[in-house]
């Protein structure tokens, strides 16, 4: 069994990360009734003997003593991390996993990347090494951050670079929250584009998330619950947005519902690596199957169902609805419509009481309405995990490498150019040691190249299918 380490950077990263750990504990508590520290738990948690204080040895088998998250919490302001440490999750982290500062990055990528990066480099490397040493077989780093700010964006991508240098064999999965058009941080386009260049070059897989989509999903759920349309009640802990049943007992903060969705995304992504199933899908398989060319590693994700009705009977029709929903526009975690764009590859990870025939039936059903690139007409990667998420009898995570990410990138570039043409706020960046105009031009060029690669693929969509001629053998 392998282990994964979560590196949460910045305010957004830490808030999402906090929800992730909370829900992870909830999930394992539901599955692991006997309180035994098993391999599934070990993928994200250490079991520490705290009787001799915080520096106790790791216990690899037997009863759970004290679970510690395999995580690194990094923020250049203290507020968010302090809150986590005073909250119900305080025992899950220890002081050796934190890196904080006081003044923040001022929404400036350069401050996060160049100044704090330089300053904290050794500290970060040392703490990463320590975390890695506690792992028997470290497979993957999960970075959670936002793109629009200074710390998550700048320092987060600095850490990404570091991970590639220090741990080249370990996968780097990045969950990035992209700013929306109405973002209140004026310089968010600069920060995002500068960060994109790093993601292009150093990440194995990126799961882009847009706040707008999360917000719409949360609204949709509220409407469904409050409309009274549902005949029966919704199981509270089945909401993909809910914290019910987790350690969090204080009043939910406004972003909690949205962050829970991202947390659930990560839990579902790793479920087949942690739990058993008839067709396992490990993290290295995700990268292998969904990344046909090194730079095209942006995966659009969708989670269904968003909630479960309280009645237990799940006829096959509802199961099929779950598959249909996964491809609908309003279940995607970015503002995109994969159905009308071109698929390079698609992965379906199903959890719970679903069998291969259900999977096949739905793939056959949905295939005709989807456009796949000519060299990957049957480009489906599937996984079946027996353990469903809390509150559901089954669930589906769809990951698509689809050209529908292109509009998000194009908009980002447009917003960037609007500011850049007028050189607005540029001096805040250029006055930082190590920053030059070329950083900007290279970054936007990298983004343009990426957009162009998607354009070229889109151009092949719907065109005539000419299969290359096969090798001829002399008879």
């Amino acid at each position: 069994m392998t282990q994964s380490v979560v590196v949460q950077v910045g305010q957004c990263g830490n808030q999402v990360g906090c929800r992730f750990w909370d829900l992870a504990l909830r999930e394992h508590a539901a599955v692991n009734k006997k309180g035994v520290y098993d391999e599934a738990l070990s993928s994200f948690f250490r079991n520490v003997d705290t009787r001799s204080g915080d520096n106790g040895p790791d216990i690899y088998k037997g009863k759970i003593c004290s679970l510690k998250a395999r995580a690194l919490l990094i923020d250049m302001e203290e507020g968010v991390v302090n809150e986590i440490l005073q909250g119900p999750l305080r025992d899950v982290f220890d002081s050796k996993q934190l890196i904080t500062d006081v003044s923040g990055s001022g929404n400036n990528w350069a401050v996060g990347h160049k100044i704090y990066g330089c300053q904290y480099r050794e500290n970060i490397v040392e703490k990463l090494r320590k975390t890695a040493e506690h792992c028997d077989c470290l497979q993957c780093f999960f970075i959670i951050h936002s793109m629009g700010g200074g710390t998550g964006s700048g320092l987060g991508t600095f850490v990404l670079n570091l991970l590639e240098e220090e741990f080249p064999e370990v996968y780097r999965f990045v969950t990035s929250v992209y700013p929306s058009g109405e973002d209140d941080v004026i310089t968010s386009p600069y920060n995002s584009v500068l960060a994109m260049k790093e993601l292009n070059e150093h990440a194995d897989c990126v799961l882009p998330i847009e706040n707008e989509s999360l917000f719409e999903i949360v609204n949709k759920i509220h409407q469904m619950i409050n409309s009274g349309k549902l005949g029966s009640t919704v199981k509270p802990n089945s909401l993909v947005t809910s914290s019910a049943g987790s350690a969090k007992t204080l009043q939910e903060k406004p972003f909690d519902a949205m962050n829970n969705i991202v947390a659930n995304l990560l839990l579902n992504l790793t479920s087949s690596a942690r739990f058993e199933g008839s067709l396992n899908m490990d993290l290295n398989e995700i990268s292998m199957n969904l990344v046909p060319f090194p730079r095209l590693h942006y995966l659009v994700s969708s989670l269904t169902p968003l909630y479960t009705l309280a009645d237990v009977n799940v006829p096959s029709r509802r199961l099929d609805q779950m598959f249909s929903d996964a491809f609908s526009r309003d279940h995607q975690l970015i503002q995109a419509d994969p159905k009308h764009s071109l698929y390079l590859a698609c992965a379906l990870l199903v959890r719970g009481n679903v069998q291969v025939s259900d999977l096949r039936r739905n793939i056959e059903r949905l295939k005709p309405s989807l456009h796949f690139v000519s060299w990957n007409q049957e480009g489906w990667k599937t996984g079946l995990c027996s353990v469903p998420p809390v509150g559901h009898s089954h669930s589906l995570l769809a990951l698509a490498n689809n050209t529908c990410v292109k509009p998000t990138f194009i908009e980002l570039k447009d917003r960037f150019m609007k500011l850049y043409k007028k050189k607005a706020h540029l001096h805040h960046y250029l006055q930082i040691d190590g920053m030059e105009q070329s950083c900007f031009s290279e970054a936007v060029s990298s983004l343009s190249d990426l957009i162009e690669e998607y354009n070229e693929l889109d151009a092949t969509k719907g065109g005539p299918r000419i299969d290359p001629s096969r090798l001829k053998i002399a008879v």
Binding site: N284, M288, S316, V356, E364, R470, I473
Partner: protein
């Protein structure tokens, strides 16, 4: 003689478990329909072939379990132990912590060499436990990374370490519509490598078995377990003990050797397909009766028309006019030409069955005498509660179309260079791919021109 089974990857281990389960439940069953003496002889033969008797009194499967991650093996071991009727040896498995990531190159070039010694040690130990080693049976899928890549490497190692033993690879072909996106690459790499080291490839296609589950077994929500159980039944119907034609009164001592001898006369042609009838849900068995003429007629037409199961057979297909030498391109379309066939009959009245229709020369190529091209094994002992059952192992054009389809799709993807970076980073270069494509195009061409 004993057969050592090597279960590779998730698929190999899941199927392997079902196979040993089926074999064990068959010999423990009371539906043998034959004399006590016959039954005992059958049980002893099966046990010698597949199980090791240890003091524990529960038979221990002669198997080595290999996987690059631990979840499946631990499940497999515990499921076997829980059955109470058989188990795996506690020292016969090898696993690592991180899987092969569906990457053939990772399985073949990285895991293979790294773990060769450990794995071959386990195989050696199992081989030494056999009084007489009859050969190796490997179970693997070709779509993933471990079964396919590491499986190809292990097969090569087996060939090097046991140059005179028979090696039969049981290969699972994935669903046409993706289980793994790079499955066609992995398949091409696997098949071409196996062709160089193994004696024969016995193939099961997931799509075909799935259809059997839905149309013949009436299973509504088909799980991989259901698919694997049908596969296990079909394998059992071939490998459970039988009397070979000229073998005298005892059970055949050398099943793998006999199989190779009858079915693989030429090294260019090693792909074996498997058909088994009848196939039905267990609870329908008491209400069904079959006649041997009916079963044989269906089985023969399944061979000629390349039908995947006993429903939906195309009865229009006929062999070409006997006696005339027709060049292959003029043969009637859809007719499945055979190089060699083996029919295995189990159950009531087997010795009275007339198999003359399978010896019709028009079914075969002209290289072998029809007497040599066709063989039959029989036993009066019924298998797995089927009063009468017949299996066909065929070296014919059965797999030509599926093989061509896989190679075509892989070539299509290769032309766009998609995913190649994932393989080159583990040492498999474009030239290696080209070599594999060439090997398989040769195989396709050979089978097409039968």
């Amino acid at each position: 003689m004993s057969i050592v089974t090597v279960q590779l990857g998730q698929c190999g281990n899941q199927i392997g478990h079902e196979v040993f389960s089926a074999l064990c439940s068959d010999i423990r069953g009371t539906h043998g329909l034959c004399s006590k003496k016959e039954n005992e002889s059958y049980q002893d033969s099966c046990k010698e072939r597949f199980f090791c008797e240890e003091e524990s009194a529960v038979p221990v499967a002669r198997a080595v379990l290999v996987d690059m991650e631990p979840k499946v093996i631990s499940q497999t071991l515990s499921m076997a132990a829980r059955s109470g009727h058989w188990k795996y040896s506690s020292h016969s498995h090898f696993c690592q912590k991180q899987g092969s990531g569906n990457n053939w190159a990772n399985g073949y070039s990285v895991h293979g060499p790294r773990h060769k010694e450990a794995i071959m040690n386990l195989v050696q130990k199992e081989a030494e436990k056999c009084d007489r080693l009859g050969g190796f049976f490997t179970i693997m899928s070709m779509a993933g990374g471990t079964g396919s890549g590491l499986g190809a490497f292990v097969t090569q190692c087996l060939r090097d370490a046991f140059p005179t033993s028979f090696i039969l690879n049981h290969v699972i072909w994935p669903y046409g519509t993706g289980e793994v996106i790079v499955q066609n690459y992995n398949s091409v790499l696997t098949l071409s490598h196996l062709y160089h080291s193994s004696d024969a490839l016995l193939v099961h296609e997931n799509d075909v078995i799935h259809k059997i589950c839905s149309q013949l077994m009436n299973i509504k929500q088909i799980s991989f377990r259901d698919v694997n159980q049908v596969i296990a039944h079909q394998l059992g119907s071939v490998f459970q003990p039988t009397h070979t034609a000229g073998g005298g009164s005892g059970y055949s001592r050398n099943p793998l050797g006999d199989l190779m001898e009858t079915l693989v006369p030429h090294p260019e042609f090693r792909m074996l397909g498997l058909r088994n009838i009848p196939q039905m849900p267990e609870n329908s068995l008491p209400y069904s009766t079959f006649s041997w003429p009916g079963l044989i007629k269906h089985l023969r037409q399944m061979l000629i028309a390349n039908a995947q199961m006993e429903e939906g057979i195309d009865w229009q297909v006929r062999p070409p006019h006997p006696g005339s030498s027709i060049p292959s391109r003029n043969k009637p379309l859809h007719f499945n030409t055979s190089i060699a066939n083996l029919v295995i009959l189990r159950g009531k009245d087997v010795h009275s069955v007339d198999l003359g229709s399978f010896q019709d020369p028009s079914l075969y190529t002209s290289w072998l005498n029809p007497q040599d091209a066709f063989n039959a094994w029989r036993t009066p002992r019924a298998f797995n509660k089927y009063e009468k059952s017949a299996s066909l192992v065929s070296n014919s054009q059965f797999l030509l179309k599926p093989l061509d389809s896989i190679v075509g799709k892989a070539w299509n993807m290769f032309a766009s260079k998609a995913y190649l970076h994932q393989y080159t980073k583990f040492g498999i270069q474009e030239e290696d791919f080209l070599d594999c494509f060439t090997t398989l195009e040769q195989v396709i061409s050979s089978y097409t021109n039968l």
